[in-house]
Amino acid sequence: MSADLTELYQQVILDHNKRPRNRGKLPTANRVAHGDNPTCGDQCSVYLRLEPSTSGTPARIAEISFDGSGCAISQASASLMTTQVKGKTAPEVEALYKNFHDIVTTGNAPEEISDLAAFAGVHAFPARIKCATLGWHAAIEALKAEPHETTTESHTD
């Protein structure tokens, strides 16, 4: 197996793919969004419960789950995403996504976000970037006020 491929399918990715975290519908969710990748038919729904703070600080993700079907990259990425965004505010999630997007497009991973760094190998497979970002897109959409559908087939990717 080539170095590129080994790098793409890292152990942490295979692990999240086989044993996804926070998978399934979240009964208590108050936000939901659905993303699909028309290129391949991959789908990802993200359910989350956004809890308004009492102290005037922004609302935070109290609980989150995902559901759908897709390749190892998209499933693992969605799974890892859920573990990373829990407890965060919308601006924090967007900042984290920006880091993640940099990692998958450039392959450079700063030390402090080492969990996301597992996806650095994606950058050698540009056609798979959409797989890696599918769950993130759905989560960001879910964070927006009214629950509605989203798609990753946008031109910024």
């Binding site: 086989k18 391949c40 390749c71 190892a72 998209s74």
Partner: protein, 412 residues
């Protein structure tokens, strides 16, 4: 029997390495590769004859016009059309079907009419009919496919119920790009005629793979793409029966398709010009004619036999893979040169990426067949599709690659 080694020598692209391995191109359902003769035709045209057609009287323009109209005649012969004027050059299958669905649909469909198609159509032979039905108020109905793996082909008993005199058009594919199913198109044409429906055949997957005779079929409209039959991208054909074409309004308008124009009004030329507004894709039409020559020199019956043999071999070899689910007709049944399959625990995208590491070009996804995938409970499949230059040895490479992938994902 095809002399595959000799054929492979005609295709420059096949002789390359991908990721350090010899290229094994098994994505012919998406597009075919091009023989040197077709590439040379493009070079010759642009280096010697390039000019605009029809309206020119100088040497280059006459040469270009002769070659372009010669290609039209060549395509007519390729499908045994009665008249060259029945060949309209388009960008490809999708545009051809849109022209019929729009022009014919606009003129003939009304509320209460039925547009009949099938559950196994490519999006390109489905969405244009959804649109035509929506615009006209007609009802769209589907002939169902049988079996949990769509292995049973289209339901002919349901066809008995569905093909009523209300049906004004029956649009169906010759060969399914996802299942490998070969539809009984002669029977479909005969039965559509019996209820007074016109037939629109999507021949994208079959035209370069098997003999095709529009007159023997009594087909009304037939669509196909050059790029899937050894021709260039950007060119295809809409065949229309002359009697229908002559009554059809043009789809696009502009230069070259009008006989008389005033500031107020325009009159159309007859077919085929009426349907070819603007400068046509001259170079690619001529090269498509060369692709016809190439395929016929080899023999489309021979190619069909070769495809079927590879398909059989692939089905046999693939069956040995643990947990594989093969969709479409079963081993032994008639099927075209492709194999479409999935695994419960490994996604098509991962398979395609791993196969690419071994030099094998596959396609993974819904194959522009989303509703069928949903019906089968799939989001996609992996597809290996064959053509005249493929070998059993290449299928062995594919199967070995799949074994390695399954092993990596720990499913074996």
């Amino acid at each position: 029997m095809l002399d595959v080694q000799k054929i492979r020598a005609d295709f420059p692209i096949l002789h390359q390495s991908v990721n350090g391995k010899p290229l094994v191109y098994l994505d012919n359902g998406a597009t075919s590769q091009k023989p040197r003769a077709v590439i040379n035709s493009l070079v010759h045209y642009y280096e010697r004859d390039n000019s605009n057609v029809h309206r020119g009287l100088h040497a280059l323009s006459m040469r270009a016009t002769d070659a372009y109209e010669g290609a039209r005649a060549r395509l007519a012969k390729f499908i045994n059309a009665a008249d060259s004027a029945e060949i309209i050059f388009t960008r490809g299958t999708t545009e051809s079907i849109n022209i019929v669905a729009r022009s014919w649909g606009h003129a003939h469909l009304k509320p209460g009419d039925v547009v009949l198609t099938t559950e196994i159509e490519h999006h390109s032979n489905l969405i244009p009919w959804q649109q035509a039905a929506r615009v006209s108020g007609a009802t769209l109905k589907y002939v169902p496919v049988l079996g949990a793996d769509a292995e049973g082909g289209l339901d002919l008993a349901a066809l008995d119920q569905l093909l009523t005199p209300k049906v004004k058009v029956f649009a169906f594919t010759h060969i399914s790009n996802t299942l490998g199913t070969i539809n009984p198109i002669a029977e479909f044409c005969r039965r559509a005629r019996a209820v007074g429906a016109i037939t629109v055949i999507d021949a994208a997957q079959s035209i370069g793979h098997a003999p095709f005779d529009v007159q023997a079929l009594g087909a009304d409209f037939v669509s196909f793409s050059g790029h899937k039959m050894c021709g260039p991208t950007g060119i295809g054909v809409l065949y229309g029966r002359r009697a229908l074409l002559d009554k059809l309004a043009p789809d696009e308008t502009g230069g070259g398709m009008v006989s008389n124009v005033t500031y107020e009004d325009a009159r159309w030329k007859p077919a085929p010009e009426r349907f070819e507004a603007g400068t046509p894709n001259i170079a690619d039409a001529i090269a498509l004619g060369v692709a016809c020559d190439y395929l016929d020199a080899i023999g489309r019956d021979q190619i069909a036999a070769h495809d079927a043999a590879l398909s059989r071999y692939a089905m046999e070899q693939l069956s040995t893979l643990p947990g594989i689910r093969i969709i479409g007709p079963r081993v032994g049944a008639e099927r075209s040169g492709l194999a479409s399959f999935s695994f419960a625990d490994v996604h098509a995208h991962d398979i395609v990426t791993f196969a690419d590491e071994d030099g094998v070009a596959l396609r993974g996804g819904h194959h522009c067949n989303q509703p069928l995938m949903r019906k089968l409970g799939l989001t996609g499949t992996t597809r290996a599709s064959f053509y005249l230059y493929n070998t059993e040895g290449e299928i062995d490479v594919l199967v070995a690659s799949l074994h390695r992938t399954l092993k990596f994902f720990g499913t074996t």
